[in-house]
Symmetry: C2
Subunit: 587 residues, 2 copies
């Protein structure tokens, strides 16, 4: 076993190519075993084993600085830089994050989880090096679909002409994004592959880079030769390496999309071990959209490289035909495209994760909202209950989106309400609309949801009571129900329960009316409090003398791989704790 | 006069080339006269006169749809589409906006003012056309520096391969952005110009486009021929036209940057008629940065195509040398670059307008703030007192930036405080920092500003009083002073005056202490209230029983070309009106 003896990248330097190849096999085995046990990014890492070994063989990390894009291809890098136990000892599997992380190692420079970042970050390291008079190599690794992102293209444009010094961009071309590739760039990649890198149509050269083509991107000897050739180069160069996504695990090679990121699975069959059997909103909404698209050719579903946001697997994409668009990693383009479609009579629905809407604030504000283009945005994974990696948490979209003028931001609380809001949004022509997909399970409506949501900012009083009103937004509505139940059972208070439905505006009439027989308002929201929903209610009542307002939500912080229960307790997002507070503060 | 007889684009169709050329001269004269009187985008429009005439000669607007990028090149388009009076009748000069505007004409499809949008918007129009079974031409006009923007590059990537139908992109290559061009793209433009469009290194072809080169982009006959050749084309094509920025006005041709956008000027000399003679923060900060950069090679100033954000004119850029970087229109890259520079020991300062920070929320959150990279962001034009075009208003950055964890967002209230905050930010290594440049004139400090701003969220009590406390943020501090003065003179109340300094956090200790002898808090902020500063104070006191909070700021709306006084009155941002409210609400 070579893996067991390996403690630092320097240990690679004395190994022969053949030993490196055996090491690659061992690493591949470890990646497969670990991801079959606890899940993770599989196919993207399997393809990069050899390239990562060759990089550390040739370059001198951490003096030479390697920046991984998305960093979901960094597992081998972690193994080679002192963190192998996290991949070979099951009890330490969870000791490292899934992305590069400076807190773990001096070989990691940034904590990144969003795509398209590595070239710009590397340009920054290079610029500082040049100002410092340093001479280290700066290496950016990009690929696996990331190059279509605006930030990557801006970085590519800058790096090709503005530095004039060492900058090595490794383009990992595995012919695939998460799903299939989209965009002219990838056609150029195909052309370059077909011509063994010799085509005159060369995007990288056109951007100003020197260019090197490595046909066998999973061959360590070829890679070492290529990287040695560009080491200490004094100008920007792109090394285009052709790899096989899922390399070495036939099931992944044949199911690249499914194996990009996996839940625990059986290595023999590739089948997920404990697949979620219940209903999921992504599938409910997808099926609803497919049905509506069939009946109305104006409706278009847009995705930005994460078809998972709406469970649009390959067969579903095909059945939607021209009414389904995957723009690739290009959220800015997705929103502007939606604006254009809406302006010419179409009915665009763009779905992505809460965290990725962060990449397109300006287009939502300028193209959609100033222009009042009636597009629908579905905000997935927008919840403390969703992904808990720091780079992907979905608790910031309320301040991000709800404060943009003209945008109607809706928070459904159950299945029928979600569908009714979606239908209303598609059918109307007046407003840009965003809908925050619930993440706390699927509940059924107990009231009529077929209302005209064009009467903006009208809250729904689900239960009329006295003394205390609980305004419970979106998927914290059920928590609000529980608080109201407990108020009655514990203190005999028949409280008012309100489903506000609108995140982006307050129902002044209802709030005014509440003041006549209520003394306390409790707000609940599944996101950070700062800049959010509850603060607006507090501000509304700020000048009133006899109304207390208690805002519940999350405090402003970057949570990482958190324990849900702990976070909820820390923020007092537990019905019993809310009751304690009410008791303490209410006279 | 041809101009006087021209009412719609159809009137062009029967004109001869020579008549069109005379029309171009007349239009050029009108553009020059109007901008010399009221200012506006001059050089960018002068270069596009012939191309716009040729476009409307060949295509059938509004059936064929023309989308202008930034739309600061659309004046001739406005003249040709029924709005000539706004350019020839001085009394109607202000009847149209400076950008395309669907409210003005059916020939305008979007209200746009930010760059890099046209290709994506056009792709959307084209996609909807294809789903509708339509056959119109969709034309995007881009150039003048816009192509380096991530959104434009994402759109270029998508349009080159994903539509497979008519899409005509006119690239206006005038060899210039606002300042000089930066990035590999523009090197490729140079190469294409030098080879009369024949170079194999062709970025557009590499992205998948058909390609046409028009050497004489100010020659109507050549342009008509080229546009006729691509009309009704069934695939995506780029028409690369070489124009002269400032064409026909020698002073603009020779001073392209200065004449990109002008204030009223003398046509003979090009001199501004009433130049602002007073001190300005952009120059004060620029000079301070130049001085510091001279002494410390780690400090780097970064600009994204608007050197005006810090008055970095050409001579100042030169004197900063390698420590000045203009990344071109590429805000995402600018922030990620700053993160990289900071991580490798540099001291980056990135300055741009409030409205352009909207383009880089994700990079600020992920690259800077999750990674705690100590970069400095200077947020210019962040004020109701600044630009009043709807696409450029600076009243949204407080909700945008202040709710991002880890970012320290500071609001100086006077010259010395601004400089002290900037120096602190550059000298510390712990926090990403943003500073909101004041816009209400230059005031001098009346207190010690040389404090350690690392003690986060410590407000400064400028005057200790009783009953009422006024917390006046940033450039509304002086309004707060006036409110406190009036409270004393009119009602004999000696109120407390607080300069909060930090936008991104609240001083809980001070707020708690205030409660002992205050009954009312008044907050003032120069931005929208929603998601802003004051709401956090209201939320803090929400559960307290004897504290009223009055939040003053702007309501959430897209203001456009507003009258400042009216807007201030409407939002009761007038000391006397605030006093009225206090009197009414205070017992």
């Amino acid at each position: 076993m070579y893996l067991e003896k390996l403690n630092a990248p320097t240990d690679l330097k004395n190994m022969t190519i053949s030993e490196c190849e055996k090491l690659a096999d061992e690493i591949r085995g470890a990646l497969l075993t670990k991801s079959s046990c606890i899940g993770g990014h599989l196919a993207s890492n399997l393809g990069m084993v050899e390239a990562t070994i060759a990089l550390h063989y040739v370059f001198d990390s951490p003096k030479d600085k390697i920046v991984f894009d998305v960093s979901h291809q960094c597992y081998t890098h972690k193994i080679l830089t002192g963190r192998k136990e996290a991949f070979i000892s099951p009890e330490q599997y969870r000791s490292v994050s899934g992305y590069t992380n400076p807190a773990e190692s001096e070989h990691d420079f940034f904590q990144v989880g969003h795509t398209a970042t590595s070239i710009s970050l590397a340009c920054g390291l290079a610029k500082a090096r040049d100002l410092n008079g340093g001479h280290e190599n700066i290496i950016a690794i990009i690929g696996d679909g990331s190059l279509s992102g605006g930030e990557a293209l801006e970085g590519l444009d800058f790096g090709g002409s503005e530095l004039g010094s060492n900058l090595i961009i490794i383009v990992n071309d595995n012919g695939q994004s998460i799903a299939e590739n989209h965009g002219g760039i990838y056609r150029n990649f195909t052309k370059l592959r077909e011509t063994h890198g010799k085509s005159d149509l060369n995007l990288f050269r056109a951007f100003g880079y020197d260019y090197l083509f490595v046909e066998r991107g999973n061959n360590i000897a070829d890679l070492i030769e290529a990287f040695s050739g560009v080491k200490d180069i004094a100008h920007p160069v792109v090394v285009h390496i052709c790899t096989t996504k899922g390399k070495g695990y036939p099931i992944a090679e044949q199911n690249k999309e499914k194996c990009h990121w996996v839940r625990p699975f059986d290595i023999q069959t590739g089948e997920e071990k404990n697949p979620f059997k219940g209903e999921r909103y992504d599938k409910i909404i997808r099926d609803h959209l497919l049905e509506r698209m069939k009946q109305d050719s104006r409706i278009t579903t847009i995705i930005a490289a994460v078809p998972d946001a709406l469970a649009f697997s390959e067969d579903k994409r095909k059945s939607a035909g021209k009414q389904f668009i995957d723009v690739g990693i290009a959220e800015e383009h997705a929103v502007a495209l939606a604006a254009g479609i809406a302006r010419n009579g179409g009915k665009p629905v763009f779905a992505t994760m809460s965290t990725f809407f962060q990449r397109t604030y300006d287009q939502i504000s300028q193209e959609l909202c100033i222009n009042m283009c009636a597009a629908t945005l579905i905000v997935a994974n927008a919840s403390v209950y969703a992904v808990n990696d720091v780079t992907h948490i979905g608790i910031f979209d309320i301040p991000l989106l709800s404060n943009i003028p003209n945008l109607v931001y809706l928070a459904p609380t159950n299945r029928q309400e979600y569908l009714a809001m979606l239908d209303w949004s598609i059918d109307q022509d007046d407003y840009p609309v965003a809908i925050r997909a619930p993440r706390n399970g699927i509940f059924e409506a107990k009231w009529d949801v077929e209302v005209d949501y064009s009467h903006l900012d009208k809250y729904h009083m689900v239960q009329s009571g006295k003394e205390i009103a609980v305004i419970a937004l979106g998927d914290f509505f059920q928590m609000g129900e529980e608080v109201v139940r407990l108020l009655l059972s514990k203190y005999g208070i028949s409280a008012t329960l309100i489903n506000p439905r609108y995140i982006s505006g307050i129902d002044r009439d209802m709030l005014c009316a509440l003041a006549s027989d209520h003394k306390m308002i409790v707000t609940l929201e599944d996101g950070i409090l700062n800049g959010g929903f509850g603060e607006k209610i507090a501000s509304f009542y700020g000048s009133w003398k006899n109304m207390q307002v208690l805002n519940y939500g999350l405090q402003k912080e970057f949570l990482d791989r958190y324990d849900l229960e702990e976070v909820m307790k820390k923020n007092r997002l537990v019905p019993e704790m809310i009751l304690e507070d009410i008791k303490r503060l209410y006279e």
